[in-house]
């Protein structure tokens, strides 16, 4: 099976660091590390320790499996707006924004980051599992003169944690002055990179796009900094869940609209007047009528985690929704979940029950993020 999996530019490094590799979105990816030597002295390794290291210092994630592309040409921003409900035309050079590819039915085809590089160039980062479909969809929708250039020859690293800025500024002076969601083309230790001050952990940090052939060099330079330890997909998932961030294919998909997904904030004021994006009619109706269900945070009263797919019931035992992501939060030191419940039962503090192994376990609807965001101001 492993020979049918794609690899990232860090495949050899992961294995050398003691990674446990798993298949994810068609790639062999590290889920966690059994660290040795100097790195083991920094971080014990394993999902818990990697997660806590990220919240305390700085963790390095390989996210090279994600899809990167440039969209270039006069009117690129306006052209992309025909596919997303976000304000792309109003995105200033050097700024990045989170947005959604919506379907005609008002569902979510994918969530993505869009950065304005200036000169009618946009940089896109989409989910690994969706990238082929996304890029085909975008390429097919662009007018003459706007070109989508997929970048399979680039790696993507995420350096996340409260010490990420101090670490990266050592290798690239000035990056600690970037604001949240700023984007810049800068050399990092002499390696040309496109960096954004963003991430998927709730912590301060950066995502660093770099040519595939220099990705390992850059990763090794970052791992040589004493605050940094590698972290795998396991910690990435528990970090983003504590931060209340959606995982595509689980918390959002083609059957969820942005209103019930509590992502209405991604629809800009201007786009809500124009209503000229895919699914606008359905999304407008959901906003007007109110959604039938809502994505909420859920905190179990006890210690048992409730996993994805767990039924959520009311005190009378009637089904009111499902868990879409659930597990254990290492920083919270407690189980936590995200899911959809009937809209009239979505208020914070509402008591609900999670059907775990046939037993209704008491829980409460809870505000997200579960762990406060630590973004730079």
């Amino acid at each position: 099976m492993s020979d049918t999996l794609k690899t990232t530019p860090l495949d050899g490094l992961h294995r050398a660091l003691g990674a446990r590799m798993v298949p994810f979105a068609g790639y062999a990816m590290p889920v966690q590390y059994d660290l040795t030597g100097e790195l083991a002295a920094r971080c014990r390794g394993g999902v818990l320790a990697e997660h806590l290291h990220c919240r305390a210092k700085a963790a390095l994630f390989d996210v090279s499996h994600m899809g990167q592309a440039l969209l270039a040409g006069p009117g690129a921003a306006a052209a992309l707006e025909s596919l997303v409900p976000g304000d792309i035309a109003g995105l200033k050079p050097g700024r990045q924004r989170y947005t959604l590819l919506t379907s005609e039915a008002g569902g979510i085809l994918d969530d993505l980051m869009v950065a304005n590089l200036g000169d009618d160039h946009l940089a896109l980062v989409v989910n690994a599992a969706c990238k082929d479909a996304d890029f085909a969809h975008i390429a097919a929708s662009m007018p003459a003169g706007v070109r989508l250039m997929v970048q399979p020859d680039r790696g993507l690293l995420a350096l996340q944690g409260p010490m990420a800025a101090a670490v990266l500024a050592r290798l690239s002076p000035g990056v600690d002055k970037m604001s949240f969601m700023a984007v810049a083309s800068v050399p990092v230790a002499g390696i040309e990179c496109l960096i954004s001050r963003s991430g998927y952990t709730g912590e301060d940090g950066y995502e660093i796009s770099v040519s595939a052939r220099q990705t390992e060099d850059l990763a090794r330079l970052l791992l040589a900094e004493p605050e940094v330890a590698p972290a795998g997909l396991g910690a990435r998932d528990s970090l983003r869940l504590e931060a209340g961030l959606c995982l595509y294919g689980h918390d959002i998909d083609t059957t969820t609209n942005p209103v019930e997904a509590a992502l209405t904030w991604t629809i800009s004021k201007r786009r809500k007047m124009e209503w000229n994006f895919p699914g606008a009619a359905a999304i407008r109706a959901a906003l007007h009528d109110g959604p039938a269900r809502l994505r909420v945070g859920i905190l179990p009263d006890g210690r048992a985690p409730a996993r994805e797919g767990t039924e959520i019931v009311d005190a009378a035992g009637a089904m009111i929704g499902h868990v879409t992501s659930g597990g254990f939060g290492p920083s919270l030191n407690a189980p936590l979940a995200m899911g959809y419940v009937r809209a009239d039962l979505a208020a914070d503090g509402t008591p609900v029950f999670l059907m775990v192994r046939g037993k209704p376990l008491p829980a409460r609807v809870a505000p997200m993020p579960f762990v406060p965001h630590n973004y730079v101001r």
Partner: protein, 126 residues
């Protein structure tokens, strides 16, 4: 120390008289990763060989623990409820899950001994 035996589901068993102590192997705890939750059977419950009777959960996933031999649950390790990480730290001693009484020696003896389990792990790794 009494002899230890293993199942193909990676539980271990120690037998003293007709009382079996059950836990998960070092290999199992390594494969699971950090244990964050353990659900133990009710004392007094009679279990059949192969019956799911406890749950161990890591950050990522939940796994069933099966009774390696038939018997009656007489004691559970409450330490694991408050300190589930004990399963990782000391899987074959302090990290035991439960004790079964009325266990037949033959069913214990039919399980893999230390060498056979090591061979089994090697065959699984291939």
């Amino acid at each position: 120390m009494s002899e230890i035996r293993y199942t193909k589901d990676h539980e271990w068993v120690r037998l003293e008289g007709d009382v079996a102590t059950v836990g998960i192997s070092n290999h199992a705890q390594e494969a699971l990763g950090d244990v964050v939750f353990v659900e133990l059977p009710e004392p007094g419950r009679a279990v059949e060989e192969g019956e799911a009777c406890a749950v161990v959960e890591s950050v990522k996933a939940a796994s069933d623990i099966y009774a390696p031999v038939a018997g009656k649950v007489i004691e559970v390790n409450h330490t694991l409820v408050d300190e589930p990480g004990t399963v990782n730290a000391d899987p074959t001693e302090a990290g035991w899950f439960f004790k079964l009484s009325g266990v037949e020696f033959e069913s214990f003896a039919a399980l893999m001994d230390e060498d056979e389990y090591a061979e089994f792990l090697e065959s699984e790794a291939e």
